[in-house]
Amino acid sequence: MIRADGQGHMEYARGMEAIGSGIMDAVLAAAGAQDFSAFSEDDARRALGGRELSADGFAALLSPAAAPLLEQMAARARAETRARFGNSVSLFTPLYISNYCENGCVYCGFSRDRRIARARLDPAGIEREMLSISASGLEEILILTGESRRMSDLGYIEGACAAARRHFRVVGVEVYPMDSADYARLQACGADFVTVFQETYDTGSYGRLHPAGRKRSFPYRFNAQERALLGGMRGVGFGALLGLADFRRDAFATGLHARLIQRKYPHAEISFSCPRLRPIGGGAAFVPFELGEAELLQVICAYRLFMPFANITISSREGARFRDNAAGIAATKISAGVDVGIGRRGAAPEPAGDGQFEIADGRSVGEICAMLSARGLQPVMSEHLYV
């Protein structure tokens, strides 16, 4: 079993599927070896001028030395984004169906230790929420749960995916990591994209921040994307929760993780999320390594230049001004009509559950579409066909 005493977070708990991948060791070794203070502005300039970004070039663009080049990075990121994606920006919304959680993550609003209103939508509640979202014109949905395998078991999530398949064309899940056979079951129900945030790739911080629950196993979480692809998923999303540890090293590890997965599974669609740690409800703000908007944009541009073909999602944790401008530079996906609580959209009869964090951009689908159009961007509701 996983222990809650500061040890054991680099092990698998009993029963967890171990796939024997070497990607984790490669990422941790490369991320650990990077010295971000050693890069010069010339290093960053060279990386920016090259045809394809190496891992070292990616690190150079994440380094403090690249900060004066942010405008040039943004210009090149925009050119790459437009060449690959044209002026299309995809819309989606997250649907939180349960906020029960067995983990004790220090920074998270859903943590089992936090006194928040807990809720779990029943099938009728899920249907109501989906109808409400569907009526807004959205065709892509991301189903989220807190990480409780008891309160949101696989069958429950399967049911939600099957319901989503009836209302939406694109269905993704962001739920607790599971075995490849479980991912295959979700895929068969209609979900075909899996997002898992590693939170931080700094294993020491990870151990401290995740004192209890299955989430404590760093390797099981790390290999989730690979298990999802082995289970037949079309694509996988990556994200470090920037601010938990050194954001440059975390962003570097996130990029390299995604890159090595793409090298091993070339068909996989890759997506980055770029969440910054936000204040949470039911507890004090916890942001050990704060980063500003310029640094967040530097990370986003570096992701775009390292993997020009990847989708990049800008979280509703960020304000409208930042999201709107990021969509014009590098983002290809943006959420709209966001509510991170449980059952608050569809006027459910049962009490609603509290949200995971405070959102900074609560604009509706119509408002986001109008914003994109005003910027000469094309809102796209569906970018995939499930067959």
Partner: protein, 262 residues
């Protein structure tokens, strides 16, 4: 001059196939009109029948829709997407795109051949996007394709005719129309492809990323028409060495033996 592009049982006077992805729906009509295009591609994964902002509503009447199977990673998925297109009422054209590489988006010729055989059998007019390989192109002909659509360079790259020599081989050896697809970045490159004998050119990103989309569509139309006219006219000779030698190398023929020593 009567010079139709024949695809299966269909004929077109325009040799410019326009992509519809990557730019605002409101610009589609102007782009089609300026391009003089009679065929426009449609990514089924974007089509939204009955929903808001449906791309089908923006395509002018009388323009043939060429649905593509983008998103398919193997022949089986391409076949299912094609059937979905037919069920939506998009007609019998299908552009096969089978891609299992998310970085370069290079087509998988082997799976493309399989999908072509299956869909031709079902009565589709199959237009396969391919990597320019002669053996694969011959297999596509045998599988019942209506044309072959080799890439000029990686899709979206605007790098032009990087695969020039291999496309030339297809033009020389394949009896079906060879339609250059993907990577064409400038009207001059489209013109060159047509001069080489390509039957048509398909372009998307070059237009979608232009400063003035309708104006660039016009520029491409003119370039493609010029290239076609040049091809049909027979290009003027280009001498490899530059100019003609003033003393012909073969001038000795017909002379008298021993005369050169006089």
């Amino acid at each position: 001059m009567d010079d139709p592009l024949r695809l299966g049982t269909h004929e077109f006077s325009s040799r410019f196939i326009l992509g519809s992805g990557k730019y605002s729906l409101k610009l589609i009509r102007a782009a089609v009109e300026n391009a003089g295009a009679q065929m426009i591609t449609l990514a089924l994964r974007r089509a939204n029948p009955g929903g808001a902002e449906n791309i089908l509503d923006y395509i002018p009447e009388g323009v043939a829709i060429l649905p593509n199977t983008s998103g398919a990673r193997n022949a089986d998925e391409a076949v299912r997407i094609a059937r979905f297109a037919r069920a939506l009422g998009c007609g019998d054209f299908i552009k096969i795109e089978v891609i299992r590489d998310s970085k370069y988006l290079l087509p998988d010729n082997g799976e493309t051949v399989k999908a072509t055989a299956a869909l031709a059998e079902e009565g589709f007019t199959v237009m396969p996007y391919m990597y320019p390989d002669l053996n694969a192109a011959r297999d596509l002909v045998s599988a019942g394709a209506a044309c072959v659509m080799p890439l000029a360079s990686p899709i979206g790259s605007n790098m032009g005719l990087q695969a020039r020599d291999f496309i030339r081989i297809l033009i020389d050896e394949i009896d079906l129309p060879v339609i250059v697809d993907a990577g064409i970045g400038r009207p001059s490159q489209a013109c060159e492809a047509m001069e080489m004998g390509a039957a048509a050119v398909m372009a998307n990103t070059a237009i979608a990323t232009a400063g003035d989309i309708p104006a660039m569509a016009t520029a491409f139309r003119k370039a493609i028409e010029a290239g076609r006219a040049a091809y049909l006219s027979g290009l003027g000779r280009v001498l490899p060495g530059g100019a003609s030698a003033s003393s012909p190398l073969t001038g000795f023929l017909g002379g008298v033996e021993g005369a050169e020593n006089d």
